[in-house]
């Protein structure tokens, strides 16, 4: 329970940071996608179910604060969480390569979907332009932030899971 509450607080903190500190440098600049980082980190460490829930909550938070269509980012990030959950089987302690690849790939894919749904369908055909101006810079920035944030999430999650396991062992219940 405590772990869930802390993860929820982390998600909200990511949302606030993303909309304030990282964006306000300048309104026209590109900011990293912290919500994707937390979604894939939790999914990679904890599996599909938690990935789904983390993605859903992060996505809905974006929808409810800024989105134009409720549920769109919720669905998108939930799928990202679910897909990243498959890689939980190859989860090794403190290995940053896998989350790095996951974050970059899912960031690019999500932005591609956003482009198709909100821009291509309105007749904005210059994909190459959007790719160079937004998708690639955001992916690079997100990858860099993953290097830092994944370590942080790993430490927090590790501490919380250990705490939970200790509690269980004391009651002689097998995990």
């Amino acid at each position: 329970m405590i772990r869930k509450i802390i993860i929820f607080i982390l998600i909200v903190a990511c949302c606030i940071l993303q909309t304030t500190v990282f964006s306000l440098q300048s309104v026209t600049s590109v900011s990293p996608n912290l919500m994707i980082i937390i979604t894939i980190s939790i999914a990679f460490m904890q599996g599909k179910k938690e990935g789904i829930l983390t993605g859903l909550i992060s996505g809905l938070l974006i929808d409810f604060t800024y989105g134009s269509v409720y549920g769109f980012y919720g669905l998108l990030y939930m799928l990202v969480g679910y897909a990243s959950g498959f890689f939980c089987q190859v989860y090794f302690d403190n290995d940053v390569k896998m989350p790095l690849i996951l974050a970059t790939v899912s960031d690019i894919l999500c932005n591609f979907v956003v482009y198709v749904v909100f821009f291509l369908l309105r007749g904005r055909l210059a994909f190459a332009h959007f790719l160079m101006e937004i998708i690639i810079p955001e992916a690079v920035y997100t990858a860099l932030m993953t290097l830092i944030l994944y370590r942080l999430f790993y430490v927090i999650n590790h501490a919380l899971v250990n705490n939970q396991k200790k509690g269980r062992q004391s009651l002689w219940i097998k995990d």
């Binding site: 909200v12 949302c15 606030i16 940071l17 993303q18 909309t19 304030t20 500190v21 964006s23 306000l24 300048s26 309104v27 026209t28 600049s29 590109v30 900011s31 996608n33 919500m35 599996g47 599909k48 179910k49 789904i52 829930l53 859903l56 996505g59 938070l61 974006i62 929808d63 409810f64 604060t65 800024y66 989105g67 134009s68 269509v69 409720y70 549920g71 769109f72 919720g74 669905l75 939930m78 799928l79 679910y82 959950g85 932005n111 956003v114 482009y115 909100f118 821009f119 309105r122 904005r124 210059a126 332009h129 959007f130 101006e133 937004i134 810079p137 955001e138």
Partner: protein, 296 residues
């Protein structure tokens, strides 16, 4: 005893359910909920109440983080820029001199204008609007849109469709408003289209944001009927009198490139906005709505 048994049974059922509920099922259930939400927004538009509740929680934090950020930023820049500031101070002092001179000249012609206006019984064309200053506290989390939230809302009599300006140029329009926040869609947003006109000739055109031009800082204009080819580089573009939401005569920017359309009737090109969108921190909201002004 029986009650206890029931409780125990329910707990067992719940545990069973929790184990049985596979991630695929969870995904499908939640996806259906999300699609339902989307369908809801498509049929009724975005539900304001949900946003009100979320922002009620989030805005105070954003405000706080922003204050700390500004404080740190001003400290850092304070230490860094002493010399630059001194130079700037010199420059500004010189400018104040120039402007004072110009001001006296203008006030003289202003009094003459007043006199003439009285003579001809003309109303002032551009009334002074009441404005309120607000700080930008957060921005759209993605990079696809140019919307931001300011820290003033209904408490300061801000309403939807009020125009927002900063350093002399039009920034955007209020699209949603809460108790202590308001969200603003800027004119450089890809979905923004506003009716504008050439300041000198009153020929109308449409100004629209274009995400593809974001890095060059320009926006598009199109559908300009310009029979005498008056519009050249540097022509002033302002909001038009036929726009339903934007007040008349707010400066949008200056023409940067212009060319004939393939139909040889209209012209289109790009505009450099007058407002500096690269660092918007404080904006002014004009507390006057075009619609009510016309109705009254």
């Amino acid at each position: 005893m029986g009650l206890y048994d029931k409780e125990e049974e329910m707990k067992k059922n719940l545990n069973f359910l929790r184990q049985k509920l596979k991630s695929q099922h969870l995904l499908i259930i939640l996806a259906i909920i999300c699609i339902g939400l989307m369908a809801m927004t498509f049929s009724n538009g975005t539900n304001g109440r949900i946003r009100q509740v979320t922002n009620q929680f989030i805005v105070p934090f954003q405000n706080g983080v922003n204050k700390v950020g500004n404080l740190l930023g001003s400290w850092a820049s304070g230490f860094r820029n002493v010399q630059a500031l001194a130079a700037e101070n010199e420059e500004l002092k010189a400018r104040v001199g120039d402007l004072t001179e110009e001001n006296t000249r203008l006030s003289q012609s202003m009094s003459e204008l007043d006199r003439l206006e009285k003579l001809y019984a003309l109303d002032k064309e551009y009334p002074e609007y009441t404005k309120v200053a607000a700080q930008v506290i957060s921005k759209d989390p993605g990079n696809w849109y140019n919307r931001f939230v300011i820290n003033k809302g209904t408490k300061d009599n801000i309403a939807v469709d009020m125009n927002v300006i900063a350093n002399g140029g039009l920034i955007g329009i209020v699209t949603e408003v809460g108790e202590n926040w308001a969200s603003v869609e800027s004119i450089i947003d890809d979905e923004s289209n506003i009716s504008a006109m050439v300041a000198s000739t009153s020929d109308t055109c449409i100004v629209s944001g274009n995400l593809g031009r974001m890095s060059s800082g320009k926006i598009d204009f199109s559908e300009l009927r310009d029979d005498g080819n008056v519009v050249t580089e540097g022509t002033k573009i302002v909001t038009s009198s036929i726009s339903t939401k934007f007040l008349t005569g707010l400066l949008i920017g200056y023409v940067s490139e212009v060319g004939d359309d393939s139909n040889h009737l209209t012209r289109s090109g790009t505009i450099i906005p007058a407002a500096d969108f690269k660092n918007i921190r404080e904006v002014l909201v004009i507390r006057e709505l075009k619609q009510t002004k016309e109705n009254s």
